[in-house]
Amino acid sequence: MRIDLRAPIGRLWWAGLLSLGSALPLVAQDPRLAARLPSGTAIEVQRLIDLAERDNLPTDPLVQKALEGESKGADSARIIHAIEGLLGRLRAARSELGPEATEAELVAAAAALRAGALPTALDTLRSLRRDKPLVVPLSVLADLLTVGVPAEEAWRSVREMASTGATDAQFLALRDRLASAPPKAGASNLRPPAPERPPAGSPPGPAERP
């Protein structure tokens, strides 16, 4: 079928197609976002979610981050910033863990990265536990770094357990043991979360010390 744009009917066709195209993003929007976020925020969050989907990343963690922000009364800019950060970490996690990584693994990996683990630590864990889920080791690494266990000690402990084929229960026991231990001299137990992008010259993360 040829559409003559000079004809009024042809113009109508194009107008119809354009309106349909512009309406599609609204149709595809997650209903939870539309129900709970201001429309401008919901559209921006949906744009980030579409990017995640395009990159074969899980989208529900991003939705949850948006809903968390809304529930806690955060403004739009803060919600968007938090989602952008999470999206970047999910991308990095996917890049290190590969296409087979599950949503739960990517979420735990993103948390580990947020807590200060280096991306290469994820790859090392993947190679040490090739056929086992990584959710618990990654989550334990994130917890240890978050509560202020020195990065070197946290990474060494997790890596050693992974290399011996430890069970999830053993990883959780390790976390409880290390996290409840009094902080060593010079190690802060209130370490702030890692910045989105480590500043130049920042000390190496756990994965750089084998």
Binding site: R32, P61, V63, Q64, K65, L67, E68, G69, E70, S71, K72, G73, A74, R78, H81, A82, G85, E103, A104, V107, A108, A111, R114, A115, P133, V135, V136, L138, S139, V140, A142, D143, T146, V147, D168, A169, L172, R175, A179, P193
Partner: protein, 154 residues
């Protein structure tokens, strides 16, 4: 059948057929019965094939969609002086009303079934005060409220 003068041949043929039907099927001619039996057998085979196909499709669907339920019961509890406490987190769309805790012997608690994974959550006390779970690790929070994290093992 005798030829009747003055009557068209087609009419004669038709009358002949009617007479034959009136007389019934001659003894020994099992053709119609066999035809009916063949039709019935074919119909039975068709039903059997359809049933087998349905069972096969069902089995394939179950094999494809079925996932073992790895969810675990997780009990969340809080000791707090409050008139209302809810559990809000990644597992309930951060819905402030989805999972209210019940008070028993001074302790608020609720039990959920969660699949393996890492979940961020917090308690909302009296609809306005966020509290972390002292029994679980704290986690970073971009929105400046106390938040906990729980890891459900595989």
């Amino acid at each position: 059948m005798p030829d009747t003068p003055g009557q068209p041949a087609s009419d004669q043929l038709l009358e002949g057929v009617i007479e034959a039907l009136r007389d019934g099927v001659p003894p020994g001619n099992r053709g119609p019965e066999r035809a009916l039996a063949t039709l019935a057998a074919a119909r039975r085979r068709g039903v059997q094939v359809l049933a087998a196909a349905a069972v096969l499709i069902l089995a394939l669907g179950v094999a494809t969609l079925w996932r073992p339920d790895r969810s675990r019961s997780v009990r969340f509890s809080l000791n707090a002086s409050a008139s209302r406490v809810t559990l809000v987190g990644d597992f309930n769309d951060w819905n402030r009303a989805a999972d209210p805790l019940r008070r028993h012997d001074g302790e608020w608690s609720v039990t959920l079934r969660l699949p393996p994974g890492r979940y961020r959550y917090a308690f909302l006390v009296d609809g306005r005060r966020w509290m972390a779970d002292q029994r679980s690790p704290a986690t970073e929070d971009e929105f400046d409220t106390p938040t906990s994290v729980i890891t459900v093992a595989n």
